[in-house]
Amino acid sequence: MRITTFCVTLGLLLVTALPAAADFRTRISQQLAAETTLSDVEAEISFGRDVAARILGNYPQMRNERLTRYVNLVGKGVAEYAGRPELNFHFAVLNTSSVNAFAAPGGYVFITKGALKLMQDESELAAVLAHEIAHISEKHIVKELNIRAEDEEGKSITSLVGGSSDPIRIALQQMVDKAIEILFKRGYLQEDEYAADLAGNGYIAMTSYDPTALQRYITRMQAQAGAKTAERDKTHPPADERINRLGVFLENNQLSSTLLSFTKERFKRYVDIR
């Protein structure tokens, strides 16, 4: 039963990973734009590193090696199912009571101390990390800002990252500014948030975590809405809608009643936020 469910989920993920309803107008030459090259990945990682540095400029990293190692182990386990083997995912805890999590392109994931405090078990941690991993694996910022390596006949991010001249450095800075604006102010596109919810839920189901964990976490976050969740609330779609869509997804894939791992004890052992 579990294997069947996972196979269905994997199939669904593969389907959602394809371009939305292949438009008959699309010409074969347009596939070139969709191809990812090694240079694109390098550009994505390089850009993401700059965005990550700006995130750490906003919130300091929590200096807790044991906790950081634990979050990395959980995150890397989930990331195994994200379909981006070319990326080396890094996870860090931000020392702020604000309830939030961030993803920078290239594999950089941050979760706040406030978010950890709100969680009750490892599956919820895995679900939140999976949501952020999905933003990276689905290249939501990369696609929105059109970050890719240099086309031989066009300008691109590679030359921007190279920073060979002042105008190029300024352009790169503007791109990073836009990414920070997405993360902290404007938020992702709503459809990207919903897509990250569903894809992330698929990842944790395949990792054998409780697939209802994100629903539980969002419900709790909604109940405790206030100053600490304000930043997250303004950059995310309404919680009710997210919960409803997750419910439909779980129901359609027979995951709503699947009893998988909560791993509450281990979570309590490593995450001791006061």
Partner: protein, 432 residues
């Protein structure tokens, strides 16, 4: 010297001013509607683009299609080299009875299209500039021993120089938006500007009853036109892979200036209608006409059909109807068919066929001063190379037709006319 103030009809270029009576010259090709195909994809497909139009050149062909472009698009025809040729068969006859052809050639090198589209939350915005008609016609011919219509006179030498520069520009914004996933509407509001200059100089050395005399005729036309050319477009996909496109457009002139001047010296002892005699070799006639009559343009409706057979193959068909905008002009139906086939994901071959029919009536026998009538038929072929964000296209279009003309004013004789147009173009497009 005296001034001839006001003329009508064909203007003073058509007056009987010479022992060799050339007709009023046409400026750029006012007799056809498909003089230059624009756009990197569209030109290669014979202009059959009304139901495709999914890049910046859609601003020109059908603004409803620009909403289906992928990302923002910038398209430019970097260079287009146009060569056109008209040969009036047997326009002249020499004293031995041999027919002599009158030949005009135009060569133009110009960027003939630039367009850009941008996605916005409300729809797709566009801006484009196009040169749908451009002529730099030159004629430099010398004929000897030509028959004259004057009894007792023979044209020993006839030197003809014509320099005709005539460009039409359209430029302006476009907006397209989706009504549903399968239906879109769009509008383009082009400003219209035309600037034309014709200089014609002809010198005839005539044996006038044993006297060696010269007849000289120097003419100048300067024409400017300002107006708008709005276009409304719709695009509908009734089924997967099939798209219908419809556009309606009409040019409207706000201002037109047409200035014609002729300086003339005639032969002595010969009576030119309404002009003094030229027994005094220093007497010249200067004629000048200013005419602000505004040309009328046809209402043009184009229906396009496109079949996106596969990601590698696209077929398209356009049928255009141009009504008769003025008395003496005829309605025209043109058709174009195009194909686009991707050899690989980096190379596409495009080809097309098109008609470019004349808006003038057939030339009739026994009638004088008729406009030429030549129906043109053409083909196009281009090769495009793609990278992830750019495409570069090289191609050619060629059209040819034969018909009739009356190059001699006041004469009912009809000349065969052959006309050909060759356009080589290099275009680039950039998606960003």
């Amino acid at each position: 010297m005296w001034i001839f103030d006001k003329m009508s009809g064909r203007g003073i270029f058509g007056l009987i001013l010479s022992t060799l009576l050339l007709a009023a010259p046409a400026l750029a090709d006012d007799y056809h509607y498909n003089n230059i195909l624009v756009g990197d994809r569209a030109a290669g497909m014979g202009g059959a683009f009304t139901a495709v139009s999914d890049n910046a050149s859609g601003c020109y062909y059908n603004p409803a299609g620009i909403v289906y472009g992928v990302g923002s698009n910038l398209s430019a025809s970097v260079n287009a080299f146009s060569v056109s040729n008209k040969t009036y068969k047997g326009a002249l006859t020499d004293v031995s009875g041999n027919a002599l052809d009158w030949e005009q050639t135009s060569t133009v090198l110009l960027p003939n299209f630039f367009g850009a589209t941008y996605d916005s939350p409300y729809g797709t915005l566009g801006f484009s500039y196009a040169v749908p008609d451009s002529v730099q016609r030159k004629q430099k011919q010398t004929f000897t021993n030509i028959k004259s219509s004057i009894p007792g006179a023979q044209i020993d030498e006839y030197i003809l120089n014509i320099n005709d520069v005539d460009n039409t520009y359209v430029f302006g914004p476009s907006f397209g938006m989706k009504a549903t996933d399968d239906l879109s509407f769009g509008v383009t509001l082009y400003g219209f500007y035309r600037d034309a200059t014709v200089i014609r100089n002809q010198l005839l050395r005539v044996d006038n009853n044993g006297n060696d005399e010269f007849e000289w005729n120097n003419g100048y036309i300067y024409r400017t036109e300002y107006g708008v050319k709005p276009m409304l477009g719709a695009m509908w996909s009734p089924t997967e892979k099939l798209v219908l496109g419809l556009t309606v457009s009409k040019g409207i002139l706000f201002d037109s200036s047409n200035e014609q001047q002729v300086t003339f010296r005639g032969l002595s002892g010969y009576t030119y209608s309404g002009l003094p005699d030229f027994s005094n070799p220093d007497s010249l006639v200067f004629l000048k006409v200013d005419d602000d009559t505004k040309r009328k343009f046809p209402l043009t409706s184009t229906l396009g059909l496109a079949y996106f057979a596969s990601p590698e193959l696209l077929l398209s068909l356009d049928v255009s109807y141009h009504d008769a905008p003025e008395d003496g002009m005829e309605s025209v139906i043109n058709a174009a068919a195009g194909i686009e086939y991707y050899l690989t994901d980096r190379y596409a071959l495009r080809a097309g066929l098109f008609s470019d029919l004349a808006n003038t009536p057939d030339v009739k026998s026994g009638v004088t001063n008729q406009d030429e009538h030549v129906d043109l038929f053409g083909g196009s072929i281009s090769l495009a190379r793609f990278t992830r964000s750019t495409s570069t296209t090289v191609g050619v279009t060629y059209s040819y037709g034969s018909g009739d003309s009356q190059i001699i004013s006041g004469s009912s004789s009809v000349q065969d006319l052959e006309s050909s147009n060759l356009l080589a173009f290099l275009s680039a497009a950039y998606n960003f």
